[in-house]
Every structure is written in C-alpha cells, then in structure tokens.
C-alpha cells in the first residue's frame, strides 16, 4: 500500500468517529432543559415572537428531523445561525479560527523550544541536582492552572512592568488578511512596526498556554531519552570512548524522536483544549473563547460547530503525527 492510499484510508476511518461525535454533541445540545430561544430574545419578547423564532430555527420539528436538516446543512458547509451573534456560525468560526491557530502554534513553538532541550539535558545528567531540580519544576509546572498563570502574568509583567499589553490581540491597527495570523500578515506586508506590535500582544497569551505543556513535554522527553540511552549501541559507543553528551545529541536523540513526535501530537491536543482558558483571560478573539461564550448563552449551533471544529483539528493532528512516523522511522510501515 502506498502512502496516499494509507492517507485516504485513515481519512475515511475518521468519518464514523466524526459522525458519532456529531450525534453525541447534537443530542447533548438539543436535550437542554432551558429555553434557548427565550434566552436569545430576552424577557421582553412576546410568546408569538418566541414561537415564530422557534419555527424559524426549526426547533418545533422532531429531533431526528432537526438532525437530518442539520447534517444536510453541514454537507453544504452551513453550520446554522448563532442565536447570540445572529450571524452564520460558519462565518463566526472563520473569523475566529485564525486567532486561535496563531496562538496555539506560537505556544507549540515555545513549548518545544523550552521543553525538549530541558528533557534531553535532564536525561543526560540523570539523577544529578540539575535533573532533580528540573523534575520538581516540571511536575509543578504541569500543575499550574493556565487561567491563573495568565492572571499572574497580567498583574506582574503586563500591569506591573508595563512591558506587554494586558489584553487583546491588536493595538487598533490590523494587517491585511492573507493568512489571518497577524504576525505573519504584518511580515508579508513588510511592516515591521506592525509585526512588533502583533508579537507583543501574542507573547503573554502564548507563553501562558505553553508553560504547563512545556513542563509536560520536558518530563516525557526525559523518559523517552532515558529509554533510548539504555540501548545496547549506547554502551558500544561508550566503549569506543565517545562522550555521553555526543551520544545523546547525535544518536539517542534521533532514536527517541519518534516518541517525541507522539508527544507533539498530544501537546497540540492539550494546547487546543486549553486555549479557551487563555483566550478568556486575555480577551483573545479566538474560536475557543467564542465557544465558551456560546456555552454560556446556550447558543447550541455555535457549540456544536465549535466542538466539531476542535474535534477535527484534534483528529487531524493525530493523523499527521502518525504519517510523520513513517518519514522519521523507516521501521514503521504503513499498514
């Protein structure tokens, strides 16, 4: 089986999972006891207005028919209308998705740059004070509630030192949309001032999101490096008199890369999951904060849409990791 057939098969396998997810979320969202229509229109609305809006949304139909019409809408790329913003959920998500992706990718870079080297170093200097200290820090780091870290950074670095803006994504000026990532778009535009500003807004939220993940990554990298350093060939190299650190960086690292890659898949999932907390704390206009607001407003179309999008992103990330295995480790055959 060649690579493309494998990719196609894996993509097809995603379909039942996604369909199950759709049924699950849809069922949860539609059995809610509260009256979302009343909530959306406010207490001033008359009973006739509520009934009319309910009919307009199709909520007077039996559940299975609502599901069928929702799915046939989805097939055309229609996620329904939000009862909070009164706009198309698809459009709302399109406007907010790039902000979340920019945040998550920036956090991923920070987590990798901080976490992996620390994991490798602690594996090399295993059981020394460096290792013990880093382990204690890493286990504590995992325990940090992200919403709290964000608030602490807002109080100390942003408000106290005044280095970074406290909340938001831009200082009023936005680059022309190409990718939707403000930092990248500003660079494409050649506007360094705008790039600097976008970066200053991005750093604190990205760092907050990344910190516990970096700690987790360091722990897991350490474990897989220790496993790799236990292999026979390491002993052979040691017997030839090659320095431990050289063996680690040149040989063991490559061999533990596949497990580090799995970790990246997990890391990406954790970042997408926790983006909601960071977005709420920093008023970052992303899709997760949009989803959280939708939950509070009982805006079910938006909740179903956002959950599906997050699920798809999560599953795709895992798929990409699986595919990269074959590139990094020739022992892994697609099958």
């Amino acid at each position: 089986m060649n690579t493309w057939q494998y990719v196609a098969r894996r993509l097809v396998q995603l379909v039942p999972t996604l369909f199950g997810l759709l049924i699950l979320i849809f069922a949860i969202a539609r059995i809610m006891p509260g009256d979302p229509v009343r909530l959306a229109l406010g207490p001033e609305a008359t009973q006739e207005q509520v009934e009319a809006f309910r009919r307009e949304l199709g909520l007077d139909q039996p559940l299975w028919r609502q599901f069928v019409s929702y799915v046939s809408g989805l097939a055309k790329g229609d996620f329904g209308t939000s009862i909070r913003t009164f706009r198309s959920v698809g459009q709302d998500m399109k406007d907010t998705l790039a902000a979340t992706l920019e945040l998550v990718i920036a956090a991923l870079v920070i987590a990798v740059v901080l976490g992996i080297p620390v994991g490798i170093l602690t594996a090399i200097y295993r059981d020394s004070w460096v290792d013990n200290l880093a382990r204690a820090v890493a286990i504590s780091g995992v325990a940090l509630p992200r919403f709290w870290v964000g608030i602490m950074l807002q109080v100390s670095v942003a408000a106290g030192l005044g280095i970074f803006p406290i909340i938001g994504r831009d200082g009023g000026e936005v680059p022309n949309t190409v990718t939707g990532f403000y930092t990248v778009d500003a660079l494409l535009q050649g506007d360094l001032g705008l790039f600097g500003s976008a970066l200053r807004y991005l750093i604190l939220p990205a760092f907050t999101l990344a910190l516990p993940t970096a700690a987790q990554l360091a722990r897991l990298t350490r474990a897989s490096m220790i496993e790799a350093l236990r292999q026979q060939y390491v002993l052979v190299h040691r017997a030839y008199g090659i320095r431990r650190s050289r063996i680690a960086w040149h040989f063991a690292l490559r061999n533990s890369l596949t497990s580090v890659l799995t970790l990246l898949g997990l890391t990406f999932g954790a970042l997408i999951e926790n983006a909601v907390l960071v977005e709420v704390v920093f008023s970052w206009p992303g899709i997760s904060a949009y989803g959280a607001a939708a939950v509070l407003a009982k805006d079910f179309n938006a909740v179903v849409g956002v959950t599906l999008v997050i699920g798809v992103a999560f599953l795709l990330a895992n798929l990409i990791v699986d595919l990269l295995y074959g590139v990094l480790d020739p022992r892994v055959r697609y099958g």
């Binding site: 997810l21 059995i31 504590s140 509630p145 919403f147 602490m152 807002q154 709420v280 989803g291 509070l296």
Partner: protein
C-alpha cells in the same frame, strides 16, 4: 513433586507477600513523593476539619462584611479579604472540601463505568460488543476533555453538579481504554487460561483474577487524575459553567477576583495558589506511586 512446576507458573502475581511493604518503602525513598503525600494529607485534613481550621467559617457562605472589604493579606486575614469582606483563607479552606469531593465523585463515576466496560472490551476482545465499546470511546476521545465537558454543560444550568456530571461524562473512556489495554495483555497469561479451562465464571475471572492484577496502573492513573480533575473542575468554574457564588470554589473565586485586578491582586491569586498546591501534591504522589509500583507510561 512433579506438580510443583506447573503450579508455580500458574501462580498469580497479585497477593505475593511482602510486595506491599516494598512499595511503601520505595515510595518513602523519594523525597518528592513524601512531600506530595504530606501536601495531600494536609489538604484532606483541611477538608475534613474545615469548620475548625478556617478562622472565619461563616465566610464560606453568602456572608457580607462591607466594613472589611478588599483588605490585603495581614495577620488577621492571611489571604486578605474579598469584595464583600469575606476572609479568603477561610473560603480557600472550604474550597479544599469541594475540590476533593469533586475529584472523588468524578473518579468514582468514571471508574464505575470505565472498569466493567474496559474488562468486557479486553476479555472478549474482537467480539461485536468489544468493538462497539471501543468505537464509542473513540468518539469521546476525539475531543479533548475540557472542550467536551464545556459542550456538555450547555444542556444544564451552571452549577457544581453540572461540572461534575460533565467531567465524569468525558472521563470514563480514558479508564476504559487503560483497562482494555491491560486486560488484553493478561488475557493469555497461563493463570487466566487455567481459570478459563477450569470453567470458571468469566465474571469471577474478570473481577477476582484480572482486576487485582491490573490495579497498579489504575491506582497510579486515578491518583494523577485527581489533579487533572481538580484542574478541569476549577477551569469550568472559572469559565462560569461550574460552581456559582457564594460557593467557595477555587476557580469561581479566581474568576471573581479578576474584577479587582491589578490592584487587589490577592483576591484572584490566593485561591489559584490553593489549586496549584493541591494539584502539585497529587502530582508528586502519583509520580512517586508510578515509580514505586513500577508502572510505565502507556
């Protein structure tokens, strides 16, 4: 005796004498896990004796003392006071009660659902029922827990119970998966095969022979999960879909304190610190248990 050899190989690993003692000794050799155990015991004591530990126990409820609102930390109020003058230390102490209750209920539900399903899926692996169970867990695992729990709360009024239901709902598949994998490994062990060959009831094989032998990874996961569940629960409360005023929930307290940032920083900082310390304690302990029980990451 000729029968010695097969009997010896059919011996179940669980229940070997002296193993428990070794685990405890191993656990106490690691300084971090001792620290973790200490923190965990401290939190449990605070939770059990909250009305006696808290200097102002009446502040756990909807009490107001506007005369001492928003006071910074001092000898009288270690963590300061909030916007209606309640002692934040007392509220944080009562918060430990909620957090532990929360974790116990969620993990209790998750284990009650997760263990039988995992055993069934593993023991009868390949059967239609097993495949069905695994496909259902796939659906649940397709969305990260916080996102799924958040979506679940849309169907209910915001409350602590809502958050508990939502997280239990998302948590059991992780246990099912773990137990499925472990059962699958044990299924072909000689002592299980022997029990099966003797015509033992599968229920008894599962609960009396398989479960006790996979209990170590379950204990380790459950201990580490206490910290994740507490983090998740406080996150839901922080986002406003969990515990509501005047419940002294840590996450809800942090959220309320945000209104008084950056000047009255202690209102948000102190309850967040309580979450952090508690979660660190369970992490250290779980990590130590993993080493002591010799359980490897999946």
């Amino acid at each position: 005796m000729a029968s010695d050899v097969p009997v010896a190989t059919l011996q179940e690993p669980a229940g070997r004498s002296g193993k428990r003692f070794k685990v405890v000794r191993q656990l106490f050799r690691n300084r971090l896990s001792v620290l973790g155990l200490f923190i965990v015991l401290l939190v449990i004591v605070a939770a059990l004796f909250a009305p006696y530990v808290a200097p102002y126990p009446e502040d756990a409820g909807p009490k107001v003392h506007f005369d001492r609102a928003l006071q910074p930390p001092s000898a009288a109020h270690w963590f300061g006071t909030d916007d209606v003058g309640r002692d934040i230390f007392s509220r944080s102490v009562f918060g430990s009660r909620l957090a532990l209750q929360f974790a116990v209920v969620v993990l209790g539900i998750a284990l009650t659902i997760g263990i039988p399903l995992g055993l069934v899926a593993g023991y009868w692996s390949g059967s239609t029922l097993s495949t069905l169970i695994l496909r259902v867990t796939d659906v649940f695992l397709a969305v990260p827990p916080l996102a799924l729990a958040l979506a679940v709360t849309v169907a209910f009024k915001p409350s602590l119970t809502t958050a508990m239901v939502a997280i239990s709902f998302t948590w059991w598949p992780w246990f099912t998966r773990l137990i499925y994998g472990e059962t699958l490994k044990l299924r072909t062990e000689p002592y299980i095969e022997a029990a099966r060959a003797l015509g033992q009831n599968p229920m008894i094989i599962n609960f009396k022979h398989i479960l006790p032998n996979i209990i170590s990874p379950i204990i380790v996961k459950a201990t580490l999960d206490v910290s994740f569940v507490i983090l998740l629960g406080s996150s839901l409360s922080f986002l406003g879909v969990g515990a509501q005023e005047p419940t002294p929930d840590w996450g809800a307290m942090v959220a309320r304190g945000r209104l008084y940032l950056p000047f009255e920083w202690w209102v948000s900082t102190m309850p967040g610190f309580a979450i952090f310390i508690t979660v660190v304690g369970f992490n250290f302990l779980g990590d130590g248990l993993r080493d002591a029980l010799d359980v490897w990451d999946q």
